[in-house]
Amino acid sequence: MPVDIDAAVIANRRLSADYNVLSFAAPAIAATARPAQFVMIKTSGGLDPLLRRPFSIFEILRDASGSPSGISIFNKRIGAGTSLLSRVEAGARLPVLGPLGRPFEPVDPPAEAWMIAGGVGLAPFVTLAAALAARRTSATLFYGARRAEELHCVDLFEALGVTVVLATEDGSGGVRGRITNPLEAALQARPLANPVKLYVCGPTPMMRACAALAATHGRACDVSLEQVMGCGLGGCYSCVVLARGADGGAPHHTRTCIDGPVFDAQRVVWD
């Protein structure tokens, strides 16, 4: 059951000119949040911007006793709302509604989990990595960006025992080229008897390519989709994506907020 908290900003950690991690005191959201669930944040006190913005829950923060005390978001400055969130200072309060949406379901050993992130699509994977670590599921992060300066927070994954594979389009970090190249090599190298599940979040062309690779190699693949959202609760029907029914029926405009954001990649109509 989602709650709306007038949440205090604990810290604004600036990662670069474009990226920051914003943490909020929000124990009631942190207590029930699951991997890839999201929150709707009102970025200003006034009417402009009017609507809340959806953000994946990046981290679940804990107090000294280990109890969930807050959440953070991984923010990339793109438009008016995200610009405001890049500038907000500790102590400010913003309405935060959540947790919302269908989560990633972590797999258990002996299956492995491969997380494929592109750019700001890193956002849902820290919580997933933590859930996988708790199950002792072996996990790999394939993380791609345009250049090395846009690769962030890799240390969070290494601390959780995740194997990290990096790629940049200009070759300034990790392997040169798209992250789907090392992913494809890994898929080809892995015997079919060794189960692996793919979890993907990033730009649509990357997710489409990952879905195709997963299908080719016969691997389960979940994607976390991002759409323009009005309400986050299923009220407005603005965030739809064309997806087949869970029963394999004909494609329908399906709400990303309550039927997603996580979908089986093979349900999504990618073109």
């Binding site: 709306d4 009017l50 609507l51 759409q227 609760l233 009220g235 407005c236 029907y237 064309l242 309550i258």
Partner: protein
């Protein structure tokens, strides 16, 4: 403290209604708001058949408002009755079903079907959606069309009939009058204003549908004026709609002439808005010693202002 009102044979416990198209089928919000505490729930517009609506992007923000072109995606009346209405009934929601037709016969058929469904309390006629080409708006933009669809539906149902009017006409009050003459129990207004937003860098419209309907606080003063005009034209109850964000906004619409209001866009911004609006209205009633909220309806004081101080 009496917040109730009546629309035809229906009594609403308070004037706060969730606006159609902004509240799904009601059940989506059952986790965050006790549906039985609302005056009513106007569910998303239904045709006879299921509809897929327009491709995204379907919404875009504008100053103090938003444009939408959802295109009336919906599950159709039969699935609504089977899959959503039982839960609404269980939760004791006052259900106002918004219906849309491409022909007059479709409105009549929908009204017939809904009149037989247990748990439907009123029918709102969507003759004002700006986002689809066929039906709907063609009735709402013509006085004879409005009259014909209201009187045809009136003949086949005992449920209160509430045509939802478009602001995209020269004189909304004449449409309210046509609806009243045709036997409407109330009118609701306004639906969204036909509008457009363009990305100057790509020179492309920001919505796939090119144009969409503007809603939110940006339209409120226009909607208040239209409610005021309609109040002077008709006796039947008016449901005011347009960017309501605070209790003062509810009261403003009522003083202009609305008996009840619908809240849409601001429910997206704050799904917990209902309790805040209710508390604010109650506080106003206490402050101003108002026992019966309906007593403020249409009480806007337009008499000449006291100007004696100007000459002193």
């Amino acid at each position: 403290m009496d917040l109730s009102l009546t629309i035809g044979s229906l009594t609403l416990q308070n004037p706060l209604i969730a606006a159609s198209g902004c509240f799904g089928y009601g059940v989506e919000y059952a986790d965050v708001v006790d549906l039985s505490t609302l005056g009513g729930v106007a569910v998303k517009g239904l045709f006879l058949a299921e509809r897929e609506g327009h491709p995204p992007p379907r919404i875009v923000e504008t100053p103090s408002g938003m444009l939408n072109a959802i295109g009336l995606q919906g599950i159709g009346v039969h699935r609504f009755i089977k899959e959503r209405l039982p839960e609404l009934r269980e939760r004791h929601a006052v259900v106002i079903v918004n219906i849309c037709g491409t022909t007059l016969d479709e409105y009549v058929e929908l009204a017939r079907i809904l009149s037989d469904a247990r748990g439907v309390h009123a029918i709102e006629l969507n003759i004002s959606c700006p986002n689809i080409k066929e039906g709907g708006i063609t009735f709402g933009c013509s006085l004879p069309g409005t009259h014909d669809v209201v009187s045809a539906v009136r003949k086949v149902t005992r449920l209160p009939v509430i045509p939802k009017l478009t602001p995209n006409v020269t004189d909304v009050a004449s449409f309210a009058r046509a609806a009243e003459e045709a036997g409407a129990d109330a009118v609701s207004l306004v639906n969204t204003f036909l509008a457009m937003a363009i990305d100057v860098h790509t020179r492309r419209p920001k919505l796939t549908n090119i144009v969409g309907g503007l809603s939110g606080p940006a339209i409120r003063p226009i909607a208040v004026r239209m409610v005021y005009e309609c109040r002077r034209a008709v006796k039947i109850p008016i449901i005011g709609i347009g960017g309501i964000a605070t209790a003062d906004d509810v009261l403003e619409f009522m003083i202009a002439g609305a008996n009840a209001v619908q809240v849409g866009t601001m429910n997206f911004v704050d799904p917990f808005i209902w309790e805040k609006l209710m508390d604010g209205v109650r506080e106003y009633m206490t402050t101003h010693a108002i026992a019966r909220l309906q007593d403020i309806v249409g009480t806007v004081d337009t008499s000449a202002r006291e100007t004696a101080w100007l000459s002193t």
